[in-house]
Symmetry: C2
Subunit: 440 residues, 2 copies
Amino acid sequence: MARPLRVGIAGLGTVGAAVIQILARQNAVIAQRGGRPVQVVAVSARDRTKDRGFDLSPFTWFDDPIALARSPEVDCVVELVGGSEGSAREVVETALSHGKHVVTANKALLAKHGSALARTAEEKGVTLAFEASVAGGIPVVKTLREALPGNSVSRLYGILNGTCNYILSRMELEGLTFAECLKDAQRLGYAEADPTFDVEGFDTAHKLAILTSLAFGSQIDSEAIYVEGISSIAPLDLAMAQELGFRIKLLGVAERTNTGIEQRVHPTMVPRTSSIAQVMGVTNAVTIDADAVKELTLIGPGAGGAATASAVVADIADVASGAAGAPFGRPVHSLESAPRAPMQRHEGGYYIRLTVHDRPGVAAGVATRMAEADISLESILQKRSETAATKDPHGRSGTPVPLVLITYAAAESAIRSALEEISGDGLIAEPPQVIRIERE
Amino acid sequence: MARPLRVGIAGLGTVGAAVIQILARQNAVIAQRGGRPVQVVAVSARDRTKDRGFDLSPFTWFDDPIALARSPEVDCVVELVGGSEGSAREVVETALSHGKHVVTANKALLAKHGSALARTAEEKGVTLAFEASVAGGIPVVKTLREALPGNSVSRLYGILNGTCNYILSRMELEGLTFAECLKDAQRLGYAEADPTFDVEGFDTAHKLAILTSLAFGSQIDSEAIYVEGISSIAPLDLAMAQELGFRIKLLGVAERTNTGIEQRVHPTMVPRTSSIAQVMGVTNAVTIDADAVKELTLIGPGAGGAATASAVVADIADVASGAAGAPFGRPVHSLESAPRAPMQRHEGGYYIRLTVHDRPGVAAGVATRMAEADISLESILQKRSETAATKDPHGRSGTPVPLVLITYAAAESAIRSALEEISGDGLIAEPPQVIRIERE
């Protein structure tokens, strides 16, 4: 049997520890598959003395992960340090420029420097593999890179952040507020102390940037992504979604439009009967629309030590067998610099929840402004307050009440300008809630 | 750029024609990805004169597909002839023994001769690729072979036959009988004139045999599969399933048990909230339970020319890039000869619908026999006929009525013997309906 692939692991958190354990457990299978064994030879972490539940003595210890990345005894560096700059970036750049393969779970690094790193890997004839950077244990990178060469992808969308899906699921099932569910998510370890990165959609955006590049053969362009989080979603929106046959999910969506490539992250109304609507809790899912396969959906664990390690180990096994190809499935120079489709040009259905003054002519006034902006309404639902203290003879309370509109496909810019008119008319008591609809 | 991969296609039905069209359309992408172009150089089919919507003149025509498989101008033979014997088998054996790569969509051939063919491929140092043989456009072969080396799979189950899922979906949604839905499926081209192969579960069994081998690293053993079709499913079973929180799907299930590897194809009650329960119509789905990723579900088109061709083209692209590995993910000699877990030893929950005589003591008699066989009942539902012409003072009509039992996990052998006792007691008017329950 050929000589082993010698692996160095930088970062020994839950994922790093799980990688070491899985490689030990699955060693025979991986060796059979790749024609050579995989051997962890070196590790690096911040604290050497921490009890990780296994013996570190078989591995060369590096206090400095950059030194590990340079070490001549390592063929393949596994970067699990995290972060788009600092040591993580230096570890990956050093390893690649020293002609070593790199396997990473670092979405932030890829989203920011993916194209440049892929170019270095290509120049050095080594692999840069990153299955674990998106959707944990779901093999979506492999699927986009290797399973669909016969397809032109038109759209992909996914639930890429387990924290947000957990919060939205609980809000829906238990009628709780965002703040209540966030607190629970933090208590259970599903959300960070500072949850901004997750709940405001930035984590989803990093992952989407990577998937977009793989799906469309384009340069990574994370700055082009329109990002909106879930913190403004109210229990009333989830209740209305249910009534209207939808569920609300934080989706990352990438779509080829007439204008270019549209990338957006926002709370989204999806049909309750769609595959993606069934995905509850911390689970992730990605749906790919492509010309030959039509619709393909992958559902699985988006995070967690073992699931993420499963993806890292799959990449290591591909490196060992020599099956790992170009990082983005094609030479870096051939990645398209696709024009950005701006959000203002987005076209789709919209859920609009207005809080209107409960007096005659308001619904008519709203409907008129929508018609003037050439927006067709699929439905309009007015909810009267049941508990209002005083009502006039027409049942009106004078207090603000929700008015919900579902539009047919309309341009984002038209929606925005109609809402400005409606606001200028003094018809609404609060800023409007706007949630985009994504159909199968 | 390296010299092209020269492809010969045996069989020009809808899939073969779609392969040629997709290769033409995606040629640049595939060449970039694999570092070499793919060129169809030869074709073979029964009828040369048939109008296929494209020009055959660029390709060398072979009346005899075996001659194509031998042709020195071909590097990779795509076998789309079909059938486990005859020309399909001869094409594949000839191509492999002449040192040519083979890509096939032929599940029957693989299920019967997969291990032997893989051995020939290995001896000749060529690829035998068969993504298209299971679940059409879903990359489940690639996922099992390449994405899960860090996992030990405990179970996989899937909806692998679109015809059956279409029939069961329509029966459920429209309250129709099996015979009515089958007729519609035939009219729409989803079912053959002789539907036995699909509706009695044999097609699912072929596909399951292939997935089992990939999932467990075992020799293909299609003869070990217990097979039961959907023709006995009654509208009442679907109605009861709904009432009890289940859906009925024809599943192929492979599971590692204490006894060995259990392979079975049968109508199955799955929880209505599971991912697989959402899959309606001709769509296919596979769920993989494994130690690191826990649960992974892939959903997509199980058939159709373009979707199947997408899988064929992915295999061709892997051959072109040199990324295609061992057919079953490891050397043939290392595939385990796993002991067969016999169906009598199967343990799980059961739905049992008895048609009992409507007289005192019947439910008690049934429950006693179940208890004697050590079977615990989760629920017992007796449906009284509403329309019976005559009823005694206790509301009993004397005509047979359904009695439905849901059991906790029990052994198949215990269920079978309890039902024999119940039948011997003269409590039931018709043979019992037994549907196994599969939990997430």
